[in-house]
Amino acid sequence: MSRFEIVRTGASATETQPTTPKNIPHRNAPANPSAKALQEKFGGRVTRVEVIWGETVVFIAPESVKEVFQWLHDDPSQRYDFLSDLTAVEYRDPQVPIEIVWHLRSLPYRRFLRIKAQIPKGKPLEIDSVYDIYRAADWLERECYDMFGIKFNGHPDLRRLLMWESYKEGFPLRKDFPLRGRFSRSEQLRQALAQNPEARYSMEELTIADAFDELPADMKKRLSKGERTGE
């Protein structure tokens, strides 16, 4: 069955017509079938499966992120083609490791899956990027790096997203970060005013002049006649 047929008819070969779930128990609701498939496929690398309020949470080993996501994205029985969110959680209890959370959605099968990976205590905060699989991970991973300091290996352009590039105080959403920052107010203001707002573009983000060769032909023609906007 083609992907578009599933979308058009609202049904897939394996599942019945979806309905709005009612009276969901806190625990022990039926899990997303992808969880069982993941356990069969990856065995010990899927450490735990929980169902909370009807939503399935799958804990995976942090080193197997790339292959798990590649499989979830490519396998015809899964087709998680939409990464809707990526974030991290640090708990107040210092014994609990930092978790990285991905929210995946399968549009053809109408499934929602939450994947978590725990970075063990004492290990560097590093994890594989899923940028190659989901382009949506670009800014999500940059934000996560900005706020938590987690390094996403394989991300092509891992810079701060929300704070400015020369921000020196650390990673604001970590539990050891004081609410008002590490520096005094006047020092924070001095550093903020010293930033150059136009220096935030990287080499990845091309200017119009640099991108001229990649513009559509008609726009190139109009621009070369002296028109100053591409509208």
Binding site: L162, M163, W164, E169, P172, F177, P178, L179, R180, G181, R182, F183, S184, R185, S186, E187, Q188, L189, R190, Q191, A192, L193, A194, Q195, N196, P197
Partner: protein
Amino acid sequence: MGLSTSGEHRTVSYVPESQEGWVATRLDFLVNWARANSLWPMPFGTACCAIEFMATAASDFDLARFGMERMSFSPRQADVLICAGRVPFKLAPILRRIWQQMPQPKWCISMGACASTGGMFDNYAVVQGIDTIIPVDVYVPGCPPRPEGLLYGIRMLQEKVKNERAADVGTRDEMEPDPASQLYIPPSLIDELGEPFGNSVNQTRSGL
């Protein structure tokens, strides 16, 4: 109640012998009258105050009654910067640059608690009052202020404009902080003075 209800505010009460003379005062009066009644606002709206600002500009409250017919979305054709909403540190240099791009004479209204003091956002990301970046003429309190509040602030600014005199030297001078000046307070001293009120090192106003 209002700023201009009583009769004496409607006229300029200069004592002629202590002033520059009839022509100069009348010229001041004319210029200030024209300026006060054609203030073009540069809206710098970053948060919910901007919604109230839009309500002020819309037909119920009708900012155009006060000569603010045209929202100037370019700082180069603006007279008054209305900063509505919180300003994060990342926006601080941009706000300062917009202020520097506005031609003289120019004024600034800080609208709402966040723009005036940082408000409830006493955290690492938000400027604690835009008067740490640019000079402010009128502070409008409220969270957010109602349109009547903003109109009251605008009327106050108009009064201020009407009382300016061209003969006052230095009113419209733009000064950068000069470390050689006797009025200059170094940041370290500001920190020391502000310490009882809490800063990032000594957080007295709230817990972590």
